[in-house]
């Protein structure tokens, strides 16, 4: 059964359709791989029994000709999605023992399509982080290592467990969420495809809230086609999320035409700061040539407010987080630390339940929203956010898509950046602007660094044009012929 975990999602779907193997066999192979790679710490909760039970139903449904689009496909679910009856932690101590009595809309849609959940993947606490080191359940290990260097590397974050599990072939795909780069950055670090759709494309209902004007769910897979297949099952209008778009969902897989002739691709000058890692710059240059060779027109563009995106994000996201995380008070769910009064109980519970990075962000957000500081911080950030958005609007007057690197560096060793919050924040310098603007974006694995570590390229388009994102990404993927992580044989 070793072969079964080497398949990608589209290949597994075809094999199931042809009757080459059963959903139970496919699921068992992935459960075995998951068990053999616990050292990576990619899953917080494994649900093998539920998965096998579901796989039997999937085989039955297929026999009855009632197979959904993802019938029998084993997935990992970021532990930020509420799953009915299955522990949901957001990788925080404060949600100890929380078993949701309901299912998030995105996971409900995946279940309806027939997908099988292997378990809940690790992440940065409340999705706040770029390295997965802030998880209460310990850091995830990137399955990639630099040539000749035994040090364990971070998988990126916050969807680090999903990215590492997909890279190591423990599941055929996984859900992620992206607030400032939390799908695209770990995808780049782990050599997988990570797609953040337009804000509003997927319902946020039942996803543990971090920053509500930015949070967006998306797929993480080993191929662009798999991401398109998975997004089709995740997306769609949901009356339970007032910001979910009442728009029809195109067939994203059909957008993979392989043809970018005449498409105008923007190259933003501001994404080439002084001192940009030369390997990243070289790879970006290769991406430009691949698209040019495929018939696209390359256009130099400018996004003048790019340098203000990170500081803007670090007001907007913490402000919204400080409000969203007010619900963790020891009363309705999770951890409670007793105190002498109600206020004392709140303060002790939150002191014990939140990790350092979450505390920092809640405090920054509280300060930015407090009387006398609101205009100087929060209102100012909302105005700069508008300018960042307008930069993109103007750029899309002259281009159809934008190509940039996904991250300023390859994956770094665990512990290397944990002492300095601001240097950690800089990891998201290329992903945050599109998040603030609500644009769709993808990271495609495009090459290896000199040390043999994966590097990604990012494609962005205007809102609601995921089809062009997939089309361009498909062409890059084919030209890059990225090798993927070699399978080690066990599993």
């Amino acid at each position: 059964m070793t072969d079964l975990i080497s398949l990608d999602l589209a290949g597994a779907r075809e094999g199931l359709n042809n009757g080459d193997f059963s959903a139970v066999e496919l699921t068992q192979a992935h459960i075995k791989a998951m068990g053999a790679h616990r050292d990576l710490n990619t899953f917080i909760t494994e649900t093998p029994d539920l998965a096998i039970e579901r796989a039997k139903e999937a085989d039955h449904n297929r026999q009855q000709d009632q197979a959904g689009d993802l019938e029998g496909i084993p997935l990992g679910i970021k532990d930020l999605f509420c799953t009915e009856g299955v522990l949901t932690t957001a990788a925080s101590h404060i949600l100890d023992g929380f078993t949701p009595p309901y299912e998030s809309t995105v996971t409900a849609k995946l279940k309806e399509a027939g997908a099988i959940f292997l378990g809940k993947t690790n992440l940065d606490e409340f999705a706040m982080g770029s390295s997965n080191e802030s998880s209460h359940y310990g850091p995830v290990h990137n399955p990639w290592k630099a040539n000749g260097d035994p040090r364990v590397l971070v998988p990126g974050g916050s969807s680090g467990g999903s990215a590492a599990a997909v890279a190591a072939h423990l599941c055929l795909g996984a859900t992620g969420t992206d607030t400032g780069g939390s799908i695209r950055q770990p995808a780049s670090f782990c050599g997988v495809v990570g797609m953040k759709p337009t804000y509003g494309r997927c319902s946020r209902w039942g996803i543990v809230a971090f920053s509500s004007s930015l949070d967006q769910a998306g797929p993480m897979t080993r191929t662009v086609r798999d991401a398109a297949i998975l997004l089709n099952a995740m997306a769609g209008h949901d009356p339970k999320d007032s910001t979910s778009a009442d728009a029809s969902v195109p067939d994203f897989e059909a957008a993979l035409t392989g043809d970018v002739k005449g498409l105008r691709i923007g190259i933003p000058a501001e994404y080439r700061p002084d001192g940009l890692n030369s390997e990243i710059a070289t790879l970006w240059g290769k991406g430009v040539s691949w698209l040019k060779d495929a018939g696209a027109e390359i256009v130099e563009i400018t996004l003048p407010h790019t340098k203000y995106a990170l500081p803007t994000y670090y007001i907007v996201a913490p402000a919204e987080a400080s409000s969203n995380l007010a619900r963790y008070d020891g009363v309705r769910f999770g951890l409670r630390v007793e105190g002498e009064s109600l206020d004392d109980m709140y303060s002790k519970t939150r002191a014990a339940g939140f990790g350092d990075e979450v505390k920092r962000r809640v405090l920054i957000g509280t300060y930015a929203l407090s009387a006398g500081y609101y205009d100087a911080y929060y209102l100012k950030a909302q105005k700069v956010r508008q300018l960042i958005y307008q930069d993109f609007i103007s750029a899309f007057d002259s281009v159809d898509a934008i190509l940039t690197p996904t991250t300023p560096s390859p994956a770094f060793p665990i512990g290397e950046k944990s002492d300095d919050p601001v240097s950690m924040y800089l990891n998201d310098v290329f992903t945050v602007p599109a998040s603030l603007a609500g644009l769709p974006g993808i990271s495609v694995p495009a090459g290896l660094s000199g040390d043999g570590l994966p590097l990604g390229l990012q494609v962005l388009t205007k809102r609601w044009d995921e089809e062009t994102v997939f089309r361009v990404a498909g062409v890059l993927e084919e030209a890059a012929a990225f090798p993927g992580l070699p399978l080690t044989g066990e599993g």
Binding site: S242, Y308, R336, S347, L363, K383, Q386, L436
Partner: protein, 95 residues
């Protein structure tokens, strides 16, 4: 922007996060460092700019103001650290 200990303590009270005495100083330094870095936003001219208040262009939809769901008290209380007779239990608030 440097936050003194009293200011850090005040923010922590607003956020309902208890801080140990020896946490306040180092945390104040970290938060000040982050705020210093954010300070660069002040150089952007935003006088004539409308704030962007959400992630979507669309305005929020209207819906009927009606009860659509409910009656799940037992399910909701199942996760509560303390529950009595259909209510959440909290420390005594009235002396």
């Amino acid at each position: 922007m440097s936050l003194d200990d009293a200011r850090v303590q005040r923010i922590a009270v607003l956020a309902r996060i208890e801080l140990a005495q020896d946490e306040i100083g180092p945390l104040g330094k970290e938060l000040s460092g982050i705020l210093d870095w954010i300070e660069q936003l002040q150089e952007v001219d935003t006088d004539a700019v409308e704030p962007m208040t959400g992630g979507a262009d669309q305005s929020l939809r209207w819906r009927t103001d009606g009860v659509e769901d409910g009656g799940h008290a037992a399910k909701i209380l199942a996760n509560a650290p303390e529950a009595h007779e259909g209510f959440f239990g909290v420390p005594k608030v009235i002396e």
